[in-house]
Symmetry: C2
């Protein structure tokens, strides 16, 4: 790789980046029974987009694949990882060790993609000191200092909406560069801290919208 | 309302529908201290999009608001609900009563938007019969029959990826029209069943992508 894929990736739209994540899943699931070459058509089928879309998106990553044949699965996975910025490890902390936090900690999909949760925090003193998935829960009030100490770049927020703004500020103060927020609130963060919010009620609303109005015309 | 908002809503893009969900949050949070009028600018600030975008999106819902003044908060909320299809209740079932399932059941944000979980299912016989948030866990094998019986339209899947395709088929057979899937797999469903997938690892990847390449230019 000559660095060009990364430069190009800076111009990827968010929608394209989302599709790349899905392509990566499809490529990783590609049967390793000797066939190293995955046709764009198979990726398209697995993800539910058009063949042309896949080829266009992957062309933006640089010179990959052979016309009319397909992509080397390993090479393609590496190129997508590089474009997304997950060709290296990311250290994250998680705040809020309730049911949702525990569910995320159990989920191995993170680790496979290079994300490591290195510390847990909770504001509830009865939870502090508990060991969850091999990590000891620390007091939420120490989060900023610990983030700095651990060099964690990402924070996962599984706290109630009322606590989320304060906790997010703490994490930003500690030096995280991105927050994955599960609280149903819109957070205001310093400009250099990126935010992705997963609001389950909004996802349900979107599903209802599609059921109500959808007619199978897309997706 | 004369039915026109709904007709127009059919032409809403998914991106616009997502923004409407966010506007609805902002309008619902609008202080009720006598001021019933919410300026588009305040909605824009709360959601983090441009004023012009808000006005354009809301114009698509029909004749709402007064130029240069703002929108009646109650009327606007009702119009957005109608456009999204959540001006009525939705019955849903949940399959997979693990940590994630329990976290969702505790989350009151659903109910406030008209979504009611009416039955719980799990394949684990030791969980069947347990009462969780007021509902008794039923055997997963009975899901199709029960969905039909209860007239549930939506299914929430909080099962492992390996079980998700089979469970989704069952729910579709029972007659659900939409599935909210938390398993990290791409599900193939009959054309009339809509799908929204929440894949947390993908959200984390997107966050990493934004941290790596983002420069505060959007969001």
């Amino acid at each position: 790789m000559d660095g060009q894929p990364t430069e190009r990736a800076q111009r990827l739209s968010r929608a394209a980046a989302q599709r790349l994540s899905l392509y990566l899943r499809a490529v990783a699931a590609w049967p390793a029974d000797g066939d190293k070459i995955v046709p764009s058509r198979r990726i398209a089928d697995a993800v539910g987009v058009s063949d042309a879309q896949v080829r266009r998106d992957l062309a933006a990553l640089g010179h990959l694949g052979q016309r009319g044949i397909g992509y080397d699965a390993k090479e393609l996975a590496a190129a997508i990882r590089a474009a997304l910025g997950i060709d290296r490890g990311w250290r994250a902390v998680l705040v809020g060790v309730g049911n949702l936090g525990r569910a995320l900690l159990k989920y191995q999909g993170f680790r496979a993609q290079g994300f490591e949760i290195v510390a847990l925090f909770d504001a509830d003193p009865t939870k502090v000191g508990q060991v969850v998935e091999g990590l000891t829960v620390e007091p939420a009030a120490t989060a900023a200092a610990r983030v700095a100490e651990l060099g964690a770049e990402l924070g996962v927020l599984t706290v109630p909406g009322t606590s989320a703004p304060g906790v997010a500020d703490e994490l930003a103060r500690g030096g995280v560069r991105g927050i994955l927020n599960f609280a149903p609130v819109v957070l205001k963060l310093p400009k250099h801290v990126r935010l992705v919010t997963v609001d389950v009620a909004i996802q349900l609303e979107q599903l209802a919208f599609q059921v109500q109005h959808g007619d199978g015309d897309d997706e």
